[in-house]
């Protein structure tokens, strides 16, 4: 690749031709502030509308200041990033942004995590010289996401994520001038839009404009209520991300401390969603083998490819965009909901409590899980199987509320029986993990022989769409994997056209899978954070003695004592679900309406 030389702040920089000033500066450790810009190269996410103008720099020979994120370097360019003129311009830009921003940092949920706040701090803003009209939008509160558009700075990262990465198209810039805002079609509430609650908009919002709907107070109340038994389940991706809030390196596995923290918070039983992930594999794997057997027997009606159903953002996407393909979704509930069903129907009687007095809390890397646990089909007489779902970020807040010195906790172990899990379940947290776990079990169940190797490197990675063929002793299973809904859409379109080469497809709505979920500590555009979280999950998998879901002794005894066989009637009533057509349809009426 052709390289060019230029000077930034009196330092010589050599960079590939075509780089922006921002990239050139970053390559030598010069940190130019940005707000709207965000680039996640591996995920093909690039938001550089050049809208905020906070990254301006001085270029010799150029009359006006140049936005570093949008300006391509030329050979021998001389750039200065912190002259009085530059700093003055940045401060002016920041003051103008802040002149229409609610000054409520102390009570804002993003306090301490806000990009706008930290850039304002770095620029040393001490007064806002501009006074004017302030935007007034009504907060839009949905089961998963809350939109406070007064705090929107029109960086349009969310619009880019919603449309390009996710192809959901719920958000768009609407109106113009002072009225301009990122909103939904026809100004509907987010819950009335095509939003899937994937939460990627929340994950990358630089301010408090987009946040999760919090349920911390409800959980604190349940913990303080002596007539309730409160159990908690933690999703696989939480344990490798939570540490970030307590100063740990990205990707540190803090499972033991997390368990101790939850116990100290007062949860009566600390269980693991991983247990339910093993259960999911039993049900979904059996379903997959069943469909393939029928297909091989010549039944052309059987719906293939079978698509995974663990991810609630993905399920909503299918319900809203491809209702005619819902039969391809596995009927297996997600691990969160399988856990809830087992906790309320199996564990509650064992613990000697009525299901209504057993409060099930989940800790998820996800905001869509909040919507999922509130779905009608997951409740019995109004009592939800999972009562509250908290994000990883909310758990970090809870830990601080409870005055817990997280870093010095002694590592604890999950409680039995719903805390035992295998390596197969822990990789559910990354793209490729669910299908790898399914393959491990399906192979052994189908062939009756032990796997020659447990690790399926061919299913791992970060490419948006991946595929592999696994040989089940003569039966070749074609597997597709997609993460990010725009990638998933391609595989669904292919299947819809009857051209899918796959028997099974794994989809996770968030880029990277749950490790990059909308409820995780913010990655701030740093791809390394996701890589390290992924590596930590594979590491936790290989450290486990048992690495196949069907070897989990508690799963074996659960079937033996309670459920019977996978996919039987009881398993179906507790562990499987159905889906709804939620697509907007145009109905033609015959006559002109007056």
């Amino acid at each position: 690749m052709e390289k060019i030389n230029l000077t930034i702040d009196n330092r010589n920089v050599e960079i590939p031709k075509g780089s922006t000033i921002l990239e050139a500066a970053n390559s030598v450790g010069i940190r130019i502030p940005t707000l709207c810009h965000m680039k996640l190269h591996d995920l093909c996410y690039e938001n550089q509308p050049g809208a905020c103008r906070i990254c301006v720099v001085e270029v010799d020979g150029r009359r006006n200041l140049a936005p570093a994120c949008k300006t391509e370097c030329t050979a021998n360019m001389v750039i200065k990033t912190h002259t009085p003129r530059v700093l003055n311009a940045r401060r002016t830009v920041m003051e103008l942004i802040l002149s229409n921003h609610p000054n409520e940092c102390l009570t804002c949920s993003k306090n301490g995590y806000c990009d706008l706040q930290s850039v304002a701090h770095d620029l040393g803003i001490r007064e806002i010289r501009y006074k004017g009209e302030i935007s007034k939008f009504t907060p839009d509160i949905s089961p998963s996401i809350v939109r406070n558009m007064d705090k929107c700075i029109m960086c349009r990262r969310c619009e880019e994520a919603c449309n390009t990465i996710q192809s959901v198209g719920a958000l768009s810039a609407i109106n113009r001038g002072f009225e301009a805002v990122v909103g939904t079609a026809f100004g509907r509430d987010i819950s009335g839009s095509t939003c899937t609650y994937c939460g990627q908009c929340v994950a990358i919002c630089p301010t408090g404009a987009l946040e999760e709907r919090t349920h911390i107070d409800e959980v604190l109340a349940a913990l303080a209520n002596p007539s309730k038994k409160v159990v908690v389940q933690t999703a696989p991706a939480v344990r490798v991300a939570l540490g970030k809030d307590f100063g740990y390196e990205p990707g540190s596995d803090v499972t033991g401390k997390m368990v101790s923290a939850l116990r100290q918070l007062g949860f009566d039983y600390v269980f693991d969603t991983d247990f339910a992930a093993d259960l999911t594999i039993m049900e979904e794997g059996t379903e997959l083998l069943g469909r393939i057997k029928e297909f091989l027997a010549g039944n052309e009606e059987v719906k293939l490819p079978l698509m995974t159903s663990c991810c609630p953002g993905w399920v909503s996407f299918m319900e809203q965009h491809y209702p005619d393909m819902l039969d391809n979704l596995s009927t297996a509930k997600s691990p969160q909901q399988m856990f809830g069903a087992i906790a309320k129907n199996y564990f509650a009687p064992i613990a000697g409590v009525d299901r209504k007095d057993l409060v099930v809390v989940s800790i998820m890397p996800c905001v869509a899980k909040k919507f999922e646990c509130g779905r009608e089909e997951f409740a019995v007489d109004g009592d939800a199987d999972v009562n509250y779902s908290l994000t990883t970020r909310e758990l970090a807040h809870l830990i601080r509320y409870a005055n817990i010195d997280f870093n010095h906790l002694i590592e604890g172990d999950f409680d039995a029986p719903l805390g035992e899990s295998t390596g197969a379940s822990v990789i559910f947290g990354t793209t490729g993990g669910v299908i790898e776990a399914a393959v491990r079990t399906a192979y052994e169940v189908h062939t009756g022989k032990p796997l020659p190797k447990v690790d399926f490197q061919e299913l791992r990675g970060f490419e948006g769409i991946r595929s592999a063929t696994i040989d089940f002793e003569g039966v070749k299973l074609n597997i597709g994997i997609a993460h990010g809904l725009a990638n998933a859409r391609k595989l669904v379109e292919e299947a819809k056209a009857g051209k899918s080469p796959f028997h099974a497809i794994e989809v996770m709505a968030c880029p990277g899978g749950c490790i990059g979920g909308g409820g995780q500590p913010f990655h701030r555009g740093d791809m390394e954070v996701l890589r390290k979280r992924q590596a930590a999950l594979y590491c936790a998998d290989s450290a486990k003695e048992l690495r196949k879901s069907h070897e989990n002794p508690f799963i074996i005894s659960l079937y033996k004592e309670f459920l019977g066989e996978p996919n039987n009637e009881l398993a179906h009533s507790l562990l499987h679900t159905h889906y709804h057509d939620r697509k907007v349809v145009i109905c033609c009426t015959d006559k002109e309406k007056k």
């Binding site: 768009s172 609407i174 939904t184 839009s193 349809v585 145009i586 009426t589």
Partner: protein, 163 residues
């Protein structure tokens, strides 16, 4: 979520026809919206949903375009749409007083339509007839040097026409 949009079949087909004339090309969205608005007079939510479905782009994107350009409207215009020029020349020659008189006579504000559906009021910037300032257009008819006192007479012509 209300996921049913009901519209007369003939209207849906007309809108689909316009989209197909432009090969259902999302890049032609503005032209499609122009043609649709000239056919129907306005672009209500249902119409935008039909276009979204037909050219396969999110309804939010279409709504974004419709709300960005002041030419597009989601509210039906009157049978006789009144546009008062607020360009510099017209403004200094008393366009605002003319506007106020129209508002007073019709009992509606800018961007609104009378209950009988006859008149709607909008403002625009310069119709290129500054020599005739202040200028008002009603439908395709242009009224020059329109003093506030003449507004009542102008309107009564239309009321007479309607019987």
């Amino acid at each position: 979520m209300e996921n049913k949009i009901c519209m007369p079949k003939c209207k849906v087909e007309e809108i689909q026809g316009i989209c197909r004339e432009f090969n259902n090309d999302p890049g032609e969205l503005i032209n499609i919206l122009h043609r649709t608005q000239s056919l129907l007079g306005y672009l209500p939510m249902e119409v935008q949903e039909v276009i979204a479905e037909e050219i396969n782009i999110p309804a939010a994107k279409i709504y974004g375009v419709v709300t960005f350009y002041s030419y597009f409207t989601m509210l039906p215009k009157g049978k006789y749409p009144i546009s008062i020029c607020m360009g510099t020349a017209c403004y200094v020659r008393g366009a605002e007083k003319v506007l106020d008189e129209f508002k007073r006579q019709l009992g509606i504000g800018v961007g609104e339509t009378t209950d009988d559906g006859l008149f709607s009021i909008d403002c625009l910037r310069c119709v290129g007839a500054c020599g005739l300032a202040p200028v008002v257009t009603i439908g395709s008819k242009v009224y020059g040097r329109l003093a506030p006192e003449k507004v009542r007479d102008v309107l009564s012509d239309y009321y007479l026409r309607e019987g």
